[in-house]
């Protein structure tokens, strides 16, 4: 992990909903691996605003000193609104690359990438790296509606086979990725699944994978206070190796990539203390 003030090379819209920021950050681009993220400081607001984590969409290592990382995001609140206002040559404070990347398959040859909504972002980088080591890559992309699919033009070309599902049927099959997942697995002879998207989707994909005895690597999101492993805000409920106990594991530096089978998905049912007592930090 390094921290640096970096220059915005370019900022363009990706479809109607997403922004693509290209940031000049040679060392980070050099070190970055698929599944890792960067933590951006939206503005050097003296009244302070926490950093915002974003998956690395692509790295461009051509021309070392000018090597860039790319992030893709949609405007949700104050932080992403500030990022959406950045112009070329503006400076931004970046920490990265952060986290455990996707594990590259050794024996397995056939990889299926499943992305939900903006969760598709880290899979573009992953697909390139998998093909670079001659793996078969198939992709399955889901979203609420067509405009929520990230760069579907490129998405089609990323792998051998590409399928889309939207909840409103505006593109591809109407429904959820899990409706077509089993069919794809058998068609593509999938041996390993990489998934990123909402927790509900990741849980469902993991379930399907487990049924087919296929390992599923999931990229998790969490609220992050620091993004560098020092605050403990970002934990996921993860079964220990023995499967005897659920541990709280940091998403930022111990994740964001986890073995789907190890996540205690049912722990996500909202839990709130009935009798709140002043919190020990």
């Amino acid at each position: 992990m390094i921290q640096q003030t970096a220059e915005i090379l370019s900022h363009r819209k990706l479809g109607d909903e997403y922004h693509l920021l290209s940031i000049v950050a040679p060392e980070i681009a050099e070190a970055a691996k698929p599944g890792q993220f960067v933590n951006l400081r939206p503005a050097a607001d003296k009244h302070f605003i926490l950093r915002r984590p974003f998956s690395i969409y692509r790295v461009n290592r051509r021309g070392d000193w000018a090597a860039t990382i790319e992030v893709v995001f949609d405007v949700r609140g104050g932080g992403t609104a500030a990022l959406a206002a950045l112009r070329p040559h503006d400076l931004i404070d970046v920490v990265g690359p952060i986290g455990r990347p996707f594990t590259m398959p050794t024996r397995q040859k056939s990889c299926l990438l499943v992305g939900g909504g903006v969760g598709a972002v880290p899979l573009f980088f992953l697909a390139e790296e998998l093909r670079a080591i001659d793996k078969r890559v198939d992709t399955l992309w889901g979203a609420a509606t067509a405009s929520r699919l990230v760069n579907s033009i490129d998405a089609k070309r990323l792998g051998a086979m590409a399928m889309f599902t939207t909840e409103d049927g505006s593109e591809g099959t109407r429904g959820f990725v899990t409706d077509v997942l089993p069919e794809m697995i058998s068609k593509c002879g999938t041996e390993v699944i990489y998934a990123c998207g909402p927790n509900a989707m990741l849980a469902a994909v993991t379930a399907v994978g487990t049924r087919h005895r296929i390992p599923v690597q999931v990229a998790m999101e969490a609220l992050m206070g620091c993004g560098i492993g020092i605050c403990m805000t970002c934990v996921q409920p993860v079964w220990n190796k023995e499967g005897t106990e659920v541990m709280h594991v940091r998403t930022c530096v111990d994740g964001p990539i986890f073995n789907g089978a190890r996540i205690s998905w049912d722990a996500y049912a909202p839990k709130v203390h009935a009798r709140p007592v002043p919190a020990g930090n």
């Binding site: 926490l50 560098i228 919190a279």
Partner: protein
């Protein structure tokens, strides 16, 4: 002429008054990728308990104007892990280590203190008494002078290094708690811990924290911290204070020193800027130099009230 940044904190010689706030620096390993640990005064590690604590469910954090709320629930791997893994690593870093300890009963505090006594290389112990006291209807130890005295007294008797009591600002009279801690044998005081607060997501009508209530930190609470350090130092001018609360810049740190802090702990600022401690130390030294001041200790308690 170099500025002398060293300070004497309850007999511990620190290279710099800038230390870390417990729970905002883990045990230093992560941040050592960004800064030189021996450029700061001391590492105060995350509060540790006898057994590992799992902490609270998520969400554990919410951003607020100039601050953040947290309800981590003191997740930590326990004192044995600290002794086996973190401490040995820290001792290679040539920076004083202050161990923060927590518990839900006086007995738990004593057990952690006992384990630490037998360890080499812990420079001081900070007692985080902002914990619910299971033996007193979950009241915070830090909210009651008697409970405070019993914990501090017990810990102080179990160890040979200086003991700092970490005070909560969520009290009517922080001076009364400070006095109770010092009478019970605290060699120094750390203040302030977070301010209890709460936030609601109005679209879901749910608290933003699974723990419902959380601790407010960051610049929003700095005026509360300045007032607390000011009042405690006036009442107990001889007692060394580690001041903290919303320090983001060297100016903020100087403000706390001027009202009586011997050292200044950096917490939330580390989350935004992993180099915060080192940069604040450098900028403070430059600020002093630019004003022809030769040592940071000259600033301590220098606030002028009259004329």
């Amino acid at each position: 002429m170099a500025v002398d940044m060293s300070v004497d904190l309850a007999g511990i010689k620190l290279r710099s008054p800038i230390v870390t706030a417990s729970g905002c620096f883990a045990s230093g390993r992560e941040i050592s990728e960004f800064i030189d640990l021996n450029s700061i005064g001391a590492v105060v590690v995350k509060s540790m308990t006898v057994e590992p604590w799992p902490g609270k469910p998520t969400p554990r954090m919410a951003e607020t104007p100039s601050g953040m709320l947290n309800a981590i629930g003191l997740q930590n791997k326990g004192v044995e892990h600290f002794l086996a893994v973190d401490l040995p690593w820290l001792l290679q870093q040539d920076v004083p280590v202050i161990a923060s300890i927590a518990g839900n009963t006086v007995g738990e505090f004593i057990q952690v203190a006992d384990r630490l006594r037998r360890a080499e290389g812990v420079a001081a112990i900070e007692v985080n008494i902002s914990c619910p006291n299971l033996e007193d209807r979950n009241n915070m130890f830090a909210h009651d002078p008697r409970a405070t005295a019993s914990v501090i007294g017990a810990v102080q008797r179990s160890v040979s290094v200086p003991v700092f009591a970490k005070l909560s600002p969520n009290v009517t009279n922080i001076v009364e708690i400070a006095e109770a801690a010092v009478e019970a044998g605290a060699h120094g005081l750390s203040l302030i811990n977070t301010v209890v607060g709460m936030a609601i997501d109005i679209e879901t009508a749910r608290p933003k924290l699974a723990g419902v209530l959380g601790g407010l930190s960051g610049p929003a609470i700095r005026p509360i911290a300045v007032r607390a350090v000011f009042e405690v130092h006036r009442a107990l001018p001889q007692v060394p204070i580690i001041g903290m609360g919303g320090v983001m810049t060297h100016e903020d740190a100087i403000e706390l020193i001027m009202v009586g802090a011997t050292a200044v702990a950096i917490g939330t600022a580390n989350f935004i800027n992993p180099k915060a401690t080192q940069e604040i130390n450098q900028e403070m030294s430059a600020w002093l130099g630019a004003r022809g001041l030769r040592s940071v200790s000259a600033l301590k308690g220098q606030v002028k009230l009259e004329g």
